[in-house]
Symmetry: C2
Subunit: 202 residues, 2 copies
Amino acid sequence: MKGNLFIISAPSGTGKTTILKEIIGHIPRISFSVSHTTRPAREGEKDKVDYFFVSKESFIESRDHNDFLEWAEVHGNFYGTSKQTVMEQLEQGNDIVLDIDVQGARQLRSSSLEAIFIFITPPSWQELKKRLTGRGTDDQTTIDLRLKNARLEMKDAELYDYVIINDDISTAVDVLRAIIIEKRCKNRRAPNGTPLTLADLT
Amino acid sequence: MKGNLFIISAPSGTGKTTILKEIIGHIPRISFSVSHTTRPAREGEKDKVDYFFVSKESFIESRDHNDFLEWAEVHGNFYGTSKQTVMEQLEQGNDIVLDIDVQGARQLRSSSLEAIFIFITPPSWQELKKRLTGRGTDDQTTIDLRLKNARLEMKDAELYDYVIINDDISTAVDVLRAIIIEKRCKNRRAPNGTPLTLADLT
């Protein structure tokens, strides 16, 4: 039985990474998709585990063959999600999480891709400001940019199948987990992702 | 935001009642639909809480006006689920559970009713036999009849949106709860059933 593809977006500072950490590794048979990148591997990063590290030429060829679900160029490096990699994992009955921004999600939404689109939001504007400032990792210019982007991204929330408000982290994790379990049940799979075996009638 | 209607069926001995007890009363804003009946109230039963107690004439008039989602005659008494009662509760943003047999569910499935159909099954035939015998409440003839009915009912499992195997009670409750929470999130409601308020952008 095929796995499900979850497309998850959130404005910066919403707590998406924390929520996903509570899901991946705690629920069996769900993992992040492994992206392709042209940037060099950092110390400790493993090919095919952290990324598929590929040459610029190979990346561009794949891109031009329409082999990526989505791709982006960041600081001169390419990053992309290979259709084939995702499909192979789904065929094996594993669920895949694709953590992408609103713009990437919008593109996938208008494609024929079968996926579940989930948007995570902060509970309020004030709270988002507080969280971005409280992290202490960004200067004011960066914070202002993140807030401006959040404002734009919030407008797209309605494009998503589900909107989860991250007011309380454990509630947000519980809702995301419920969506994953519900999709498995809908696909006639058990909560752990294995196929259901119905009671024999003999 | 409107509530959801859950139609739940299970062969006798599957543990449906135990599972539903763990849901109703533990999750806010979900309750059983209150049925109409022509049988007299038993001691302690309250009108409009346990049942709507009505006369046979009134029941038949309603039935002939097509006012019931489903109805049945059992030992000379009529039982039915009023469309209006269910719709009123859904409009108030409450989720409703309708606990009916496979035959009733099949009728509703082929109607235009918007509902979520959930089938609960025993993990195996042997286990069902064991449970029915272990209850000690039924004689062998009744057990055999229940087993025969279960065999027929299992054939209809595929008509349902979801199939939950009750191998382990807490897992079965968890899956049913996940479906309820997922539907709320899909309807832009919080897990407790209240409408979501998205982050203000001012």
